[in-house]
């Protein structure tokens, strides 16, 4: 089965450091989403792309977060500088068309010390 691939699976770093999370969507999927999961807030949408164009990043703190799709096989989510409150699991998901179910990667567990 085709899968969404996320790297790294785990990341521990000190506050102030830059963090980059990567996602390879399923081949042929034209929508890509980034979600953040925390105990307090649950699952929240950070950003999403259709055909590599950013459509909505209103859920993302703009001063420190950025999301890009340099090509159809790679999406990135960067945090610079990182803060302890950014500690969470970050999921990437992709979909074949707008209203089709989203398929999730295994997530990146991020810990900022």
């Amino acid at each position: 089965d085709a899968r969404v691939t996320q790297t790294p699976r785990h990341k521990v770093t000190e506050m102030g450091q830059e963090v980059t999370m990567r996602c390879q969507p399923i081949l042929g999927h034209n929508t890509v989403f980034w979600y953040r999961q925390t105990m307090m807030q649950g699952l929240e949408l950070l950003a999403y792309f259709r055909n590599r164009a950013p459509l909505d990043d209103s859920g993302m703190p703009k001063d420190r977060f950025s999301a890009e799709m340099p090509d159809a096989t790679l999406a990135t989510l960067k945090i610079q500088p990182s803060e302890p409150r950014d500690s969470a699991v970050y999921f990437c998901a992709s979909g074949e068309q707008g209203n089709q179910p989203q398929h999730f990667g295994d997530g990146t567990r991020l810990s900022i010390l």
Binding site: T31, F33, Y35, G42, L43, L45, Y48, R50, D56, V89, F91, A93, G95, G98, N99, P101, Q102, H103, F104, D106, G107, R109
Partner: protein, 117 residues
């Protein structure tokens, strides 16, 4: 904005029994989709079942079925013949079908289901 409410933070069920997880949502839209996702301890998010709002027939997927009550804005998940592997967090999710904010998922807070041997 859409909201999704799962009123049962935790539930348990005996193996082989049936359990129903509740979900309600609030929207003024007519074109939307509803989903249940399962998140086992491995952290994966796994699609369980999908329902289109325009379809009156309730979706089923093997042991999983939904009771979709559009007027009541209710979307419950029934798991029949519960198995130990069903132990997981279950998330109800809403997706607008058109317009601004469409195609993104809004999740409930989840229900932690434990299947007891």
């Amino acid at each position: 904005a859409q909201t999704v409410t799962q009123s049962q933070p935790e539930m348990s069920v005996q193996e082989a029994e049936t359990v129903t997880l509740s979900c309600t949502y609030d929207t003024s839209e007519n074109n939307y989709y509803l989903f249940w996702y399962k998140q086992p301890p491995s952290r994966q998010m796994i699609l369980v079942i999908r329902q289109e709002a325009y379809k009156q027939q309730n979706a089923t997927e093997n042991r999983f079925s939904v009771n979709f009550q559009k007027a009541a804005k209710s979307f419950s998940l029934k798991i029949s013949d519960s198995q130990l592997g069903d132990t997981a967090m279950y998330f109800c999710a809403f997706m607008r079908g058109s317009g601004a904010g469409s195609y993104q998922l809004t999740f409930g807070k989840g229900t932690k289901l434990s299947v007891i041997p």
